[in-house]
Each structure stands twice: as C-alpha cells, then as structure tokens.
Symmetry: C2
C-alpha cells in the first residue's frame, strides 16, 4: 500500500525538523529554523514523495529531493517578505523572518536556505535533481521581478512564480526515484498542470489573482478544468497514482 498524503507529510516534517545545517552558518540557524517551521502544508515535498513512490522510489531515498524543493520555497518566502519586496511583517500568523531577526539576517538566511537546498539536491549520484531545481529557482526569481514591475499577464506570472516549482516537485521526485529519462514525458505533462491548478485554487481562497481577472465563477471554472486535465494526465501514467489523485482532489476540495 502506498503511503497516504498525511503519512508523507509526517515524513517531511520529521526530516526537515532534524535537518543538519552546515555548522559554519552559526547563529543563522535560528532564522532558518523559524522559516522552516512555519506550519506550511508541505504540498510541494509531499507531491515530490508521492511522485517518487508512484514510480517505485523509497521515500527515504526521495526525501532529500523533497526537502530541497521545500527549502527553495522557503528561501523565496523569506526574501519576498523583505521590506524592499512585499514588506510583509507576518507569515502564517507569526512574524516573518526579517520582522523577527532583522533584515540583514533575513537576507543571509534566505541565501543559506537556497544553498542548503542545492546541497540536498546534490546528494544524488547525478546532476539532474539539482538542475531541475535550479531552473525552477531562476524562473521564480524572474517571476518575482516581473511582479515588481507589474503589467504582465497573469498566466505567465503564475507559471514562473508558482508553476515552475510545482513542476520541479514532481520531476525531482521521479529523477530521485530513478525513473529512466525515456519515461519522463507523461510525468512532465502532469507536472505542468499542477502549478496552474494550485494557483487558481489559491486565488479563489484569497479572492485575488484570477478572481479579480475572470470573476469568482470564472476562477472556479478554471480550477475545475485544471483538475480534470491533471486527472487525465494522471490516468495516462502507467503507475499507481492513487495518492497523487487524492492530493489533486484535496486541492480542489479546499475551495468548495
């Protein structure tokens, strides 16, 4: 029996909580731990583990890749919250890293989270996991810059800021699990749908983004369509994708 999403989330929580940081980081450990323990849903690393397990990878083996994805996500939140960017003093009901530890330490803690993410992605005997992650990271950074400038189209912005890392969550999982590259194409097709689905759902919950652009009913319709497409892509995979299907339905159910 494949593990349930909650079981996978438990594995991620334990792994991230016990993650040994590079000792040279010294007192940056506190802001880094603050950023990593914020009670997020861990949806990206859970997707990574579920994809890895669907193609036969043991969670123990896929966990460094899953944690790497989560650390990249965390890096991006720490830097995006800074006064010069989104100027957010709170994140999930707690002080943001810069509000709690100061701007300088938040800049350095973000840098360290990104570097530690790459360190995790490099435990494998191949460069592919790290390369997937790095490409997604560059897309996210470019998306954040476009967001600062304003006036760009929402679909492209979401693809860069959210879609790229969802894509990498799935692909890092299947690389880490050792799926031969000839079998990656249908996985990449599924991965490409996930980012949009997550973003539309998020916009519906927050009442912004697509809701402002196409209205509440329009956004709801977009989410349903994206969920159907994701499910179709899942059905095309020759693997037990029941856990991934459960995660996709769980995403959609959040909005109803």
């Amino acid at each position: 029996m494949p593990r349930t999403p909650d079981e996978l989330r438990g594995l991620v929580e334990d792994y991230v909580a016990e993650l040994a940081l590079q000792p040279e980081l010294g007192s940056l450990e506190a802001p880094i731990r603050h950023a990593l323990s914020g009670g997020g849903k861990r949806v990206r690393p859970v997707l990574c583990l579920a994809a890895g397990e669907a193609v036969g990878g043991e969670p123990t083996h896929v966990l460094p890749a899953a944690a790497a994805v989560e650390l990249v996500h965390s890096f991006s939140l720490v830097h995006d919250d800074l006064p010069a960017l989104d100027n957010d003093t709170e994140r999930r009901g707690r002080p943001s890293v810069w509000a709690a530890y100061g701007e300088a330490s938040a800049i350095l803690a973000g840098d360290a989270l990104l570097s530690e993410a790459f360190r995790l992605a490099l435990v494998y005997d191949m460069t592919a996991v790290a390369r997937e992650l790095m490409e997604a990271t560059l897309a996210m950074i470019g998306g954040q810059q476009q967001d600062l400038e304003g006036g760009h189209d929402l679909a492209q912005l979401h693809r860069l800021k959210t879609g790229a890392l969802f894509n990498a969550s799935i692909m890092c999982g299947v690389w880490a699990a050792g799926l031969p590259v000839e079998e990656h194409t249908p996985w990449r097709a599924f991965a490409g749908e996930l980012g949009l689905l997550f973003q539309v759902v998020d916009d519906i919950l927050d009442g912004d983004g697509y809701v402002l652009e196409v209205g509440a009913d329009g956004a709801r319709h977009l989410a349903d369509e994206a969920a159907v497409r994701a499910q179709t892509r899942l059905d095309a995979l020759e693997a037990d994708t029941s856990v991934l299907a459960e995660i996709v339905s769980g995403l959609v159910a959040r909005t109803s």
Copy 2:
C-alpha cells in the same frame, strides 16, 4: 606552453561577457550584467583555470567552473553591499547594484547570480564541482553573519569569508579538469594557503584587518610567510605550476 595569467583573464572576461542568462530573468539582466562587468581582477576564476590547466584540463572545459566561482563572488558582493548589510553605495568606482537599480532588484539579482553559478557548476557530468562551490557559499554566508555580529576571531572570519571560495576556485578547477580524487590532497593543501595569503595582502592594501591586529610590519610578515607556504605546497605538486607560482608572486608583489 601554459597560458599566462593575462591570457586566462582574457578568456574569463570573454566568457562572462557572453554568458547567456536564463531568459526568464527578464529585466534582471541589467543589474546582473552591471554586477559582472565591474572591472574586478578575476583572480578566483583565473586561479581556477590555471589549476585546471596545470593538471591537463583544457580552459574551454574548465571555463564554466571558473565562471561559476566568479558568479558566487559577485552574488556575495551584491548582497553584502545592501543597505541592511554593509550599506555601500559604491563598488570599484561605480554605483553598487542596489544604488543603481534599487534594493528589490539587487536582492533578486544576487539570488539570480547564485542560481546561475550553480547552473554553470552543473554542466559537468558529476556533482563534485557544484558541491565544492555550495560548501564554500555556505561558509561565506556564515562568515558574513559572524561579521555582522562582531567579536569573532579574524583568522576564522577570513577563512569563512575569503578562504573558502579561494579553496573552491582551485578545487573546482581540478575537479572540472578530471583529476582523479586520489590526487586531490596536495591540491587541497595548496588551496588552503591561498585564501589567507589573499586576505593578508588585501588587508595591507586597505590598511585594515590584520594591519589593525598585528601592525603593518606584522601583516607584511604574515603575507611573506603565507607566500612561502603556498610556494612550498606548489613545489610539492607533480604538475607544471609555473602559472600558479606567477599568480602567487603577483599577489605578494601588490603590497611592495
């Protein structure tokens, strides 16, 4: 005949000037190019190429690793100059990146430089180059945090802030050139001496650091000792290290 330091510097300049950035970075290209074209001495990538050539690596093959080292150096300068850290409005006679492009773009440009550095380190068919670079990056970040806090010992601070990346410059070069790992030990010993030598020389030129701690004559003495140790390590290598010896003497000559 191995290439001279100036020839190697020319190769680095051309490679960095023509470096194709990830297209998603969009308008971040301008602050990134600003950071990369500041007229630095390129001492780290030149050392990387010289070490690679000494063990038989073609510069064309070692250039991505050399550029990766330079991009990590550049990332660290862009973030260290920020108002929340060193608050420097100038760097090498030109506006620092944040002074020219604003804080938000400087934070993102630094993030992008670090990610592009890892992208370059991952063009090899092994994870070793990227792992060397990532460990040095984490040491530098930890060193910057210690510097903010003050009150730490200067030798350790220099080892983290400067030594680690000099070390990586040499080791990325020999990895990229394909030197078998059994032959790395004497190279690592040489690499370890370089960071201290560079830092003492820099302190003498700036009249700070070691000069404040042990006086001008004391610092001069430390530099001479470090140069002798570096030369001894070089002599122990079974390779044509004439170009590396020239770079080491060039460093010391800057102070006399």
